[in-house]
Symmetry: C2
Subunit: 375 residues, 2 copies
């Protein structure tokens, strides 16, 4: 195997596939990239088993030769060192040469930089399933990005309940429902999709976020869902992720009904006031008290050792009886930010019932936060 390649395109492929490689792997073989040159181009694959990314560098981009002077073959090579070397090299083209199956020799085009890396035979790599199978869905990048931005933050980051680390996707009746929850809050987004597409899949939220980083400059992506994996096709890059097994929690009844107290405020003012009073919320996890009446809206927090904070919101509309409620201020800030709107509506049932945060002008997304017990 050998090839001479434009450094910039090689680096792009390496860093894309390298995103799948974890710092320390329980399987050392996974610290390598699988590099394969075929008649269709150069394929670079990285994997941590949960997530696999396969990037392609073509022989030509338009009329320009990207890869030349080539001989097909494959090898495994330490991802971190290879990426560092290709990133730092002062050379427009790189020559990559495999001698005796596993000795990789890398040269800059000035022949002054010479790197020799101990590779591993490509057939020692793990078996990866990158075949598209199951139900297919094509989404615009803007739809996918907003789905992730409005839900992923609400998923749990604790591995104790794996299902809660997922975005639960359900397609039926021409709609795609995306739900994420860490059990103290829940985010739900609904998007229109073509009729007749049906599937249920629990995709790890952090992998959904990782995929948004691969979408820059792209218009759409294609996803296929089978029983145990989702396969994302983004241009010439293929991303496979294991799905999280198990039946997701029923969340239909989580949305509070009979919300009789409705608050409308400027999103930015409300976020800033919460951020300030949280400074004094040192004893309970970001606990903030919201006191509402038709006359005034007050946000406050206190710490017996440090002191207390109180903010009055001047610009608001409130309908309902007087109500005091406590919540995790960071959760409410994240929910409001995810809505991305100027004015936000909060709808309450009573002090100890979950409440809704939404954009009155967009009913495709709803945020629900469980209150904290007030003291």
């Amino acid at each position: 195997m050998r090839f001479t390649i434009k450094r910039e395109e090689f680096l792009k492929g390496l860093t894309t596939a390298g995103r799948a490689i974890s710092g320390k792997s329980v399987m050392p073989i996974l610290e390598n990239l699988h590099i394969e040159l075929t008649d269709r181009g150069l394929f670079i694959t990285g994997s941590n088993l949960d997530l696999t990314i396969k990037a392609q560098v073509p022989y030509k981009l338009g009329e320009v030769d990207v890869i030349r002077n080539h001989k097909e073959g494959s090898v495994l090579i330490d991802a971190k060192r290879l990426i560092d070397i290709i990133r730092e090299l002062d050379s427009e083209e790189i020559t990559f040469d495999v001698i005796d199956t596993t000795n990789v020799v890398i040269n800059g085009n000035n022949n002054r930089s010479n790197y020799r890396l101990n590779g591993i035979r490509a057939d020692e790599y793990v078996e990866l399933d990158l075949e598209a199978a199951g139900t297919e869905l094509t989404m615009s990048v803007s739809d996918f990005n907003i789905l992730v931005a409005q839900t992923a933050f609400a998923a749990s980051t604790k591995e104790k309940k794996p299902l809660l680390t997922a975005i639960h996707l359900e397609a039926r009746d021409g709609l795609l429902f995306a739900t994420a929850s860490d059990s103290a809050r829940l985010a739900k987004k609904t998007l229109s999709i073509p009729e007749g597409i049906e599937f249920i899949a629990n995709v790890p939220a952090r992998i959904m976020i990782e995929i948004t980083r691969l979408l820059e400059g792209k218009d759409s992506l294609n996803i296929t869902f089978s029983d145990n994996k989702a396969l994302f096709t983004i241009g010439t890059t293929i991303v496979a992720t294991r799905l999280i097994a198990g039946e997701y929690y029923k969340t239909d009844n989580v949305v509070p009904k009979n919300t009789s107290c409705i608050l409308e405020v400027n999103a930015n003012d409300f976020i800033k006031a919460i951020k300030r009073v949280i400074i004094l919320s040192t004893e309970r996890e970001n606990a903030v008290d919201l006191s509402m009446s038709e006359e005034s809206i007050k946000i406050s927090a206190k710490s017996s050792s440090i002191g207390s904070a109180s903010e009055e919101i001047s610009d608001f509309r409130y309908i309902g009886r007087s109500l005091d409620i406590s919540f995790n201020g960071e959760f409410v800030i994240a929910a409001i930010r995810a809505l991305g709107c100027d004015d936000v509506t909060l709808a309450f049932v009573e002090a100890m019932k979950a409440f809704i945060i939404k954009n009155a002008a967009d009913d495709s997304v709803i945020q629900i936060v469980t209150p904290m017990r007030s003291y």
Copy 2:
């Protein structure tokens, strides 16, 4: 005690003094700022005992009232919370009011933000010595900054040998000598100062770096050195630091003599080549091999498990016999960067003797690195 103050000026004073406060202190009282309003202005003091910073906010800046509606007094108040609150408040002016000696009430000028902090009586603060005493030196900010930039990086960060964490300053015969060393490398800067000033002081290198951060927008600073402390006056801000006790190591004999092998290279090319080969230097601490002859200059590194790297330097001038030497590449990069010049000169005696890195056009600064044993 009470005052109404321009938020921006208050915040500037708080963050300046706050720089002296460590995250967690063995003495909880030191997590507070000492705030005192006198007839000369507002004084804000923070300290971790090793370092004390006292900032001043004046009553007026030019014709503009900075502090108004005031009553003198003093209080101690949690630094982190106070700074966070004043930073986040949406208010041009802040009212700061102490009720019953220690209850601090902070209001924004719209009266919608109300913060109450539990202060501590000012007389419970530690006794601090901020009196100027000893030998006085006035330096330009540019001289001070370059002295720190060219030496501080070479000091040790390990507290095991406290003297090595200092920049050793010695003034005599119209010269100021600044030396820093972690025993594997040494940096020495010489500056002209007025005749007749004599002192020896070991100032912690990290405090010298901290002081450069307080110098923005200033032209000069005044320093007084006594037996156990240095006092820096920067505009209206006073910084005091404990000196490190003990007699500094004799370093006069460290500068290698009879350097018969001289290499001149482009600083940037040389740094980049070292940075690249270091990628393969995984088994010995950033060890890099330099192989020099009048025909070629080669930098290389190898790791038995990963591979090897070799870089040829094309643009060089070398005088002397063929010589191979190994060194910590990061030390050489830091030394070259500290010189801040386009071309750099390295002067060697032999493979196992310390070598010199210098700027041929500036003999006020010298960098010395001890080689590593080559394998």
